[in-house]
């Protein structure tokens, strides 16, 4: 499902954030990308999500070699992923429901269907009662759950998260982990980048990074 071969990302100035990394994550797996701070976890997540382009190597997702794709094809690739960021990247000028609606609007779903699916996603993460609330009125854990609802609302094949439980208390972090496990149980491929070793026991595939290289 996700196969990387000699994947390299070199930033201007010659710094290799990812250096000749090769791995495979099968469909339906729950995979962990771990390593110390600065190991290259976030860069690898960005490469998989096509937010960054690799400098060298190949990265095949769902049969498509991402580096070879034209720029105009990238948005359609990104729609296969549900992305959860450490800083959530929520929009604070609209309600929780409208935040979750955004991926469905991008996909061009009719508004009535989109609202129904967004409410179902909010229900799944336990936030349906807060659908009209502005994200700023939500707690850190709730904001992260809202970000997860937005990530899964478009029924992605891969749920990709970068430090999804960072800055959360123990209970909230556990709730987030349980949510990812739930999605994994229904067949979604889950890839989580975190330095939190508590995730290891739930994951079938662990990629350890150190200074941009796979250990």
């Amino acid at each position: 499902m996700i196969v990387a071969s000699n994947l390299t990302k070199r930033y201007p100035g010659g710094f290799d954030a990812i250096s000749e990394v090769s791995f495979a994550i099968d469909a339906g797996q729950m995979a962990l990308i771990t390593g110390h701070s600065g190991a290259g976890k976030t860069t690898l997540v960005k490469l998989i999500a096509s937010i960054e382009r690799p400098t060298a190597g190949s990265l095949v997702v769902n049969g498509q070699n991402l580096p070879a794709l034209r720029r105009s094809a990238i948005p359609y690739v990104r729609r296969h992923f549900g992305l959860v960021f450490q800083d959530q990247k929520l929009l604070f000028d609209r309600s929780a429901l409208d935040n979750v609606l955004l991926p469905l609007q991008i996909a061009g779903l009719p508004r009535r269907d989109a609202i129904r699916r967004a409410q179902a996603a909010l229900d799944k993460v336990g936030l349906l009662a807060r659908e009209k609330a502005n994200p700023i009125a939500l707690s850190g854990g709730e904001q992260q759950r809202l970000a997860i609802a937005r990530a899964v609302v478009n029924r992605p094949t891969v749920l990709l998260a970068d430090e999804p439980a960072a800055n959360l208390d123990v209970d909230s972090a556990r709730a987030i982990l349980d949510l990812f496990a739930d999605f994994h149980r229904v067949g979604v491929t889950v890839v989580v980048a975190t330095h939190d070793q508590g995730w290891i026991e739930r994951c079938q595939n662990v990629l350890r990074l150190d200074h941009g290289r796979l250990l």
Partner: protein, 299 residues
């Protein structure tokens, strides 16, 4: 197709929301665009009215054809036949007797005419070609002058040329003015959209990360630019009509003093459509330039 329509509908709705989200700022932008379009539009309407007034003025596009004094009725009839066969012109025959009678009716001329031993006036034709351009008028004059028993052809070509040159100058000045104000409209839209892109940087960044295409991100801005331009164009049409309404009374009074019934006119529906569509196109252009430049920093 459904997704495409849904996205366009959503983009249009978003453009309306943005327009009404900051009513004061939107109103000021519309006013600037409206005034920018009003000046050339009003100039065009005035020039068009002036052109019509000029073409209606006596003698402007008329050619007077005077027969020789000794031309017989048969020879005059031959000219009549030629004029009838020639296409693209209106004409009327003025018999020498009618001409003398009119001269007699002119104040102070009755005694002079009565003292004349015989009628000194020739038969004449007043010819009005439908193509009233100076070149066409001169060509026709030359042709008429060559016809048999035609003594003299009179065309106030200097006046026609002056009037035509004035209209051409007016049109050129108007085109320059319109170009200048169109650039102003594009600049106003450019700046408005640039500020909007800056204000929505977070939304654009998130939308891109979760799969929004360039078209999805650009579309609401294009609609906003076009909407703002179209509304500005319609405002300009309203301002032009209001201006004409204000001028209608004084112009009518002035025309009455010259014993004519002239009223200012404007193509209301087509004029408003041209201003609306033109404004929308210029707004769209401004939005496109602005979005193309502003979105580069998200690449």
């Amino acid at each position: 197709m459904n997704a495409w329509l849904t996205q366009h509908r959503a983009a249009l709705a978003s453009a309306f929301r943005r327009l009404f989200a900051a009513p004061m700022s939107s109103a000021l932008s519309l006013l600037v665009i409206g005034i920018a379009l009003t000046l050339p539009a009003f100039g065009y309407v005035l020039l068009d009215n002036l052109r019509e007034l000029g073409s209606r003025a006596s003698g402007v596009k008329q050619i007077s054809v005077f027969m020789e004094l000794n031309a017989s009725r048969q020879e005059t009839g031959e000219i009549e036949n030629r004029l009838r066969q020639a296409g693209g012109l209106d004409w009327r025959f003025v018999p020498r007797e009618d001409a003398l009678r009119r001269l007699q009716q002119t104040e102070g001329m009755a005694e002079i005419v009565a003292s004349l031993p015989r009628n000194p006036l020739p038969d004449a034709f007043i010819v009005e070609p439908r193509d009233s351009g100076p070149a066409a008028l001169e060509a026709l004059s030359r042709e008429l002058a060559g016809w048999p028993k035609v003594a003299h052809v009179q065309l106030d070509s200097a006046w026609v040329k002056r009037f035509d040159a004035f209209l051409r100058l007016g049109r050129l000045a108007l085109a320059l003015l319109a170009g200048l104000f169109a650039a102003g409209l594009v600049a106003v839209t450019f700046n408005t959209i640039r500020l909007q892109v800056m204000a929505q940087a977070a939304e654009i960044e998130v939308a891109r990360m979760i799969g929004a295409t360039d078209a999805f991100i650009r579309r609401p801005f294009y609609y906003y630019g076009a909407l703002q331009g179209a509304l500005g164009g319609l405002l300009a049409a309203a301002l032009v009509l209001a201006g004409l309404h204000l001028l209608a009374g004084p112009v009518g009074e002035l025309a009455a003093l010259y014993a004519t019934a002239f009223t200012l006119h404007a193509p209301v529906a087509s004029g408003a459509a041209v201003l609306g569509i033109g404004g929308a196109l210029l707004g769209w252009l401004g939005a496109q330039l602005s979005v193309s430049l502003s979105l580069r920093r998200f690449d």
